[in-house]
Amino acid sequence: MGFNQPKLDTSPPVSEEVRQTTCYMCACRCGINVHMKTGSDGKKQVAYIEGNRDHPVNKGVLCAKGSAGIMQHNAPSRLRAPLRRVGPRGSGEFEEITWDEALDMAASWLEPLRKSAPEKLAFFTGRDQSQSFTSFWAQNFGTPNYAAHGGFCSVNMATAGIYTMGGAFWEFGQPDWDHTKLFMLFGVAEDHDSNPIKMGIGRIKARGARVIGVNPIRTGYNAVADDWVGITPGTDGLFILSLVHVLLKAGKIDLDYLSRFTNAPVLVNASEGPEQGLLMRDEAGKELVIDRITGKLAPFDQPGVRPDLHATYRHAGVTHRPVFHLMAERYLSNDYAPENVADQCGISAARIRAIAAEIARVAFDEAFELDQEWTDFRGETHKTMVGRPVSFHSMRGVSAHANGFQTCRALHVLQILLGTVEVPGGFRFKPPYPKPATAHPKPHCGVKPDCALDGPHLGFVHGPDDLALKDDGSPARIDKAFTWENPMSAHGLMHMVISNAHAGDPYKIDTLFMYMANMSWNSSMNTRGVIEMLTDTDEAGEYVIPRIIYSDAYSSEMVAYADLILPDTTYLERHDCISLLDRPICEADAAADAIRWPVVEPDRDVRGFQTALVQLANRLKLPGFTTEDGSAKYQDYADYIVNHERKPGIGPLSGWRGDGSQSGRGAVNPEQLDRYIENGGFHVSHIPDAALYYKPWNTAYQDWAVGMGLYDKPEPYLFQLYVEPMRKFQLAAEGYGERQPPEHLRERLKATMDPLPIWYETDQQGNEGFTVNALTQRPMAMYHSWGSQNAWLRQLHGRNPLYVPTKLMRQNGLQDGDWARVSSPHGEITVPVMEMAALNENTVWTWNAIGKRKGAWALDENAPEATKGFLLNHLIHELLPPKGDGLRWANSDPITGQAAWFDLKVKIEKAAPPDDIAECLPAFEPITSPVGKGVNALQWKVGK
């Protein structure tokens, strides 16, 4: 054939309209442009999704999940109408009912509980992005039993950060990508702040900055890191404290920063008795330091005071020393010398020293100043802002261990010793953070029939008096949050709700109400056990957990285990607010919030869950949702978003308040949602230049934050290297105070509630013979269980081998494609294996939540997710193996109750030849799908 170049139209119309909203393909909350075209039915349909260039989170980029949103929106697994269970629980047999029937049924179950015993409702939400609303609903219902999924996600990270420095990673803060020269990641879960971290890594690598990845597995961000530290799981805290040891010994710490902005110079009471180890305070309650200028005691915030890190205070025969002395004493100990931790961490001493030296070099030799004057809370004006360009990030990898809280604390202490928090080049908070633990609510559990709860459920305890205990000392909450077993469980313990409810411990409940939480599958430890608990009956043949209401947009594994299903919309069909009252989308330079709005109307009889909750509240006439004349305050969630005021002038959205010109504070503006839509679905309020760094101590920031309604008054505070509330729990364990722990917990409280970071090996009793660490990671292209219903994403990750390091492959005679039996003290699975060399030599891992139950998600029963995909969850129990002491100890962090998923230890052996094995074990019976199965072929094109 000759050369034949056809004429092409290179400027075809792209779409008829672009509607801008917020992604919900993971928790990252990027801005998206949804391109609309008229479909064959004459209605506008979703044709293409791309990132919104103006959006503060993603600035135009979008990950695989985000671009695949169109396949989530059209997924065959979408629920179509409210469902009432007609077969036994777990059968998946339902009948469709109307919304009036569904809401009447729910109200008829809940009304009597509210009138008699509101705690008999347990309301827990999973991957919920509306927690300020769902908690408001639960508070007005009056039950103490509310939390979201943080307890099995990253509560250690969030809580350790807030107690230590008034914020943590991800939503709380971010590296200063513009200036950082050394970025160190610990155990990052790849979906947490996914696009911003990818963008940041790309940017800093482009300018030659160094990235160090600390993770047993070298994938994703760790694959592009300049240096990979394949650490032994669970030893991050020891490694970090060894870095602290080396840096402290070399004097590579920021003494000026420590003396001005932290409690390092605060004196610790050394007198024996009920105040030993507490911080010394003046009569006004202000922490006391020695002023280096006068040599006298002074409150830390007195104008002109120079807190002394060195001086001690002698009084009545007792020498009281500053926190910094205690730190030097502890961390200069040779216990933390690199040579003494190398074997345990799986990192050579030379490498630990090299990393410490590189941190020191960048923090101090590459320090710089921004020409920006600012004034601190003592009234002192600084001509410049000093930058230390070392930054850190971490998420679930270090968090989901039973030593995770102290490990997260250790990481923050390292950051603070270097003076890299809230300085140029370091780690920066995002509004509404910084916000110290003392500015958060305390937990509330005051229940009265027919009344709202006495305050917010979740919060921060500052001592034993704040625990959620009944008068008899028993737990007030079904999940036993804020008890001696896990005093600082700031996010609750969702992973304990079903087992506690089933056991009637601490009490029985009537109705379990859950949202977006796949508890009968990948969101529970001990999956089979949870299924049994959900279906178990008592002697009278009644279900042990009498009623279960569940809301989900999709036919997940959990649907079959509910009695009543409230079908949610997809994320393109709903209103939402990503609120400053909750988990906003702020940047370090700006406060920002966002909305979702129905860019398409649902074509099914479904309602946004939050709207269903408003309508249920109206049927129950909950206070907070009802005016004085008894009428409903809100018709639906959009109405609530615009018209609700948490405090006068402060509502869920901060933008375009009042007459449309006010940000942060201002009267209700009925046109607020229209303004958001016109602006691309989000609102940004920039922080003034003089307020951009040193936020916890910077008067310009504090004043700006008050104006925005983030604080009611300026609240400068010191970073808490020494967390005094932890010492209060130790004192109780030592016998001081009215509220005393049970005997069996005294020693553990003394050991673990150390006010300075420690590292301890997690409980290995019962693990004899199980020596291999087993982990999961989430692929960047999938989020929890949602990906499997997505026709495009499931072609990327449709099955999940167990990745096994070379050494263990050889030891066990395994080859790619073989099957292995993997067992833990709790259970056994049989799964396909694949060799991976870039992996800690004693760690196996797999992708999270790929494995599916047959019949779920509108997939064929032979879908690879159901035959070659598997969960590690079957190997993990919510309790530790019995120790023979008659007690069962939770598989959780003893401080926060965080589920210790990553403490799992297994053994691995070759199973039968591949030809003899058809699918992964354990195999579960298929569940009946309430939505049928998806189509056999897709040619998705909206426009013609």
Partner: protein
């Protein structure tokens, strides 16, 4: 057989940074979305919810482990799509003239109305960069988003391939590799950009930037060691150092 244009005015193509690609598949799905809705037939999926889902993709990411003789194994993420070769065997092998290389920019395209789905081009491509769409029976391949890069209905900054616009890590770059002064050519020069399988003689336009050397931090320890010299040998000495160091701070006693 089809005649290949001897020379093109420009050589538009991609430069892909293997040092930065985190293997997230954003480019894969963005490509799938744009090209399902735009140029030619939609990219279909067979058995999308079944036992063996298989669809048409114009861009896929592969991951390879590299184990050096010394040091830790590494993982390299490797996105791959049509490389818009100067000597494109997929064009010359086409029996109908459906495959062609554009004179103005060097983009290799398939004119779907002339494509008979014989698959010869896919067989001849050493990179495996073409995929036959099973629903439509035509050959699909990367168009370099020819319907975006000149599209006057898009804002100017968006006139880049969908994969480039979406890449979160900024690992994908687009431009004229025939112009030595273009940003992409300079990037290739600076970073030692490479052809994929040059021995095949296809002269690919797309270039790959190799990963930088890794795991070198211990090599620097001789330079770094002085930074870690202890301020005192004994813990008691540390407090003495502290006292003196505090005096040296701004506003201190010396």
């Amino acid at each position: 057989m089809t005649t290949l244009t001897k020379q093109t005015d420009r050589k538009m193509g991609l430069v892909i940074d293997l040092d930065t690609c985190v293997g997230c598949h954003a480019c894969v799905i963005s490509c799938k979305g744009w090209n399902t809705e735009n140029y030619g037939a939609p990219l279909s999926d067979q058995d999308p919810y079944g036992a063996d889902p298989a669809g048409t993709f114009l861009n896929r990411v592969h991951s390879y482990e590299v184990t050096p003789n010394e040091g830790h194994a590494q993982l390299v993420h490797f996105p791959k799509s049509c490389l818009h070769c100067e000597d494109a065997p997929c064009v010359t092998v086409c029996p109908t003239g459906a495959s062609y290389k554009r004179v103005e920019d060097g983009i290799v395209l398939v004119n779907e109305s002339d494509c008979i789905g014989c698959g010869l081009c896919a067989w001849s491509c050493p990179y495996g960069a073409r995929e036959l769409d099973l629903a439509e029976g035509v050959m699909k391949k990367c168009t370099l988003c020819v319907d975006r890069i000149y599209n006057e209905n898009l804002p100017e900054e968006d006139r880049v391939p969908a994969c480039v616009r979406t890449c979160p890590a900024g690992a994908r770059h687009f431009g004229d590799l025939g112009d030595p002064d273009s940003a992409v050519s300079q990037l290739v020069a600076e970073r030692g950009g490479m052809d994929l399988m040059p021995e095949m003689g296809t002269k690919p336009v797309n270039k790959y930037l190799p990963p930088r050397p890794k795991d070198r931090i211990e090599d620097q320890i001789d330079i770094l060691a002085p930074l870690l010299a202890p301020v005192a040998e004994e813990p008691a000495g540390f407090l003495g150092w502290l006292d003196k160091a505090l005096d040296k701070l701004p506003g201190g006693n010396s």
